[in-house]
Symmetry: C2
Subunit: 206 residues, 2 copies
């Protein structure tokens, strides 16, 4: 059956466990991956261009903003971050899936971008990964042992704002046990593949 | 987490295997069941009232039509068939799931009914169960060995009409191998439970 792939917008507060949950799906689906974002910040030791990020100069980044190349972008503390349309659209048109690890702001912008492109718009679904409780999130952030108190307080403040936007998403998955959350995300992906809106032809003709 | 259950409208041509596919889900989810329709036709030997159908007199049926008790109803060859709102709404409001085995006409009527009731409208999803091919459907109908040629031709004619409406459904599941189709339907149900539209409160408050 010819059909669009699925682009999953996956948001959730810092520390909620997006990478852990997705790692179960990446094991199961060899072709599934996170989209690679662009950034103007300097590569950290060990970060490979095109793997961790596409590293762009500020001039390049701005040129691509003007060219309409980004599905979403934002400036954070003087650095630019964004997702190229080219990173997502060709994959889903080709029937493949991809996960966009972006925040609430990014989700809103991607939705707006794809609304203007009905040819692949139905491929996009949004999932909010939530902690079982606010206390659990705080515990996880502290458990990392790598953050200053100031950084933890800032992340918790941001988390409260992100959590408030959960109703804007199509789906919500509570990350109580990572493998179970992954199974629910897996079901959401499997169900997404069965949506008639993404079928390019009647299945029984294929 | 407090949330609405899911009412799955399941349509598909006669012989496509709805009962077989659902039997896998009924084994897995003890509380899941088909909604029991009402009919004015006489019970066949062995049919128990309230199990196979709710058997109503024509007067009773018409009274309940006038009272707005039906989510959908139709007259077929002089007999009335229909699904009571009472059969579905209290269950999904209570967080339970139910499957409505109804045709395309019924799907349209149910959608219209629940649109008028936003309080439980988001609980309804629609799934079209399709044969892998038209030839496969014909083969299954003939394989039963219980139908006259006239009846088979009539069912195939109806099937062609039903198949043409597949895009009106939220999801399409091809019944190639019944257990695999059941797994896809299972994923659709699991995903349905994660829809933010059916959450009555933020999950992390529960």
């Amino acid at each position: 059956m010819k059909r669009l792939g699925t682009a999953i917008i996956l948001s959730g507060p810092s520390g909620v466990g997006k990478s852990t949950v997705c790692s179960f799906l990446f094991k199961k689906y060899a072709e599934l991956k996170f989209s690679v974002s662009c950034t103007t910040r300097a590569p950290r030791p060990g970060e490979v261009d095109g793997v961790a990020y596409h590293f762009l100069t500020i001039d390049d980044f701005k040129r691509r903003i003007d060219a309409g190349d980004f599905l979403e972008w934002a400036e954070v503390h003087g650095n630019y971050y964004g997702t190229l349309k080219q990173e997502v659209k060709p994959r889903v048109i080709n029937g493949q899936d991809i996960i966009l690890d972006i925040d609430v702001q990014g989700m809103r912008l991607v939705r707006k971008s794809v609304l203007a492109e009905p040819e692949w718009g139905p491929s996009v679904i949004s999932v909010f990964l939530a902690p079982p409780s606010f206390a659990a999130l705080e515990q996880r952030l502290r458990g990392r042992g790598t953050e200053t108190e100031e950084s933890i307080q800032k992340r918790l403040g941001n988390a409260a704002k992100e959590l408030a936007a959960w109703r804007e998403y199509d789906y919500i998955v509570v990350n109580d046990v990572a493998e179970q959350a992954a199974n629910r995300l897996d079901a959401i992906l499997t169900a997404a593949h069965a949506r008639t809106a993404t079928c390019l032809e009647a299945p029984w003709l294929a």
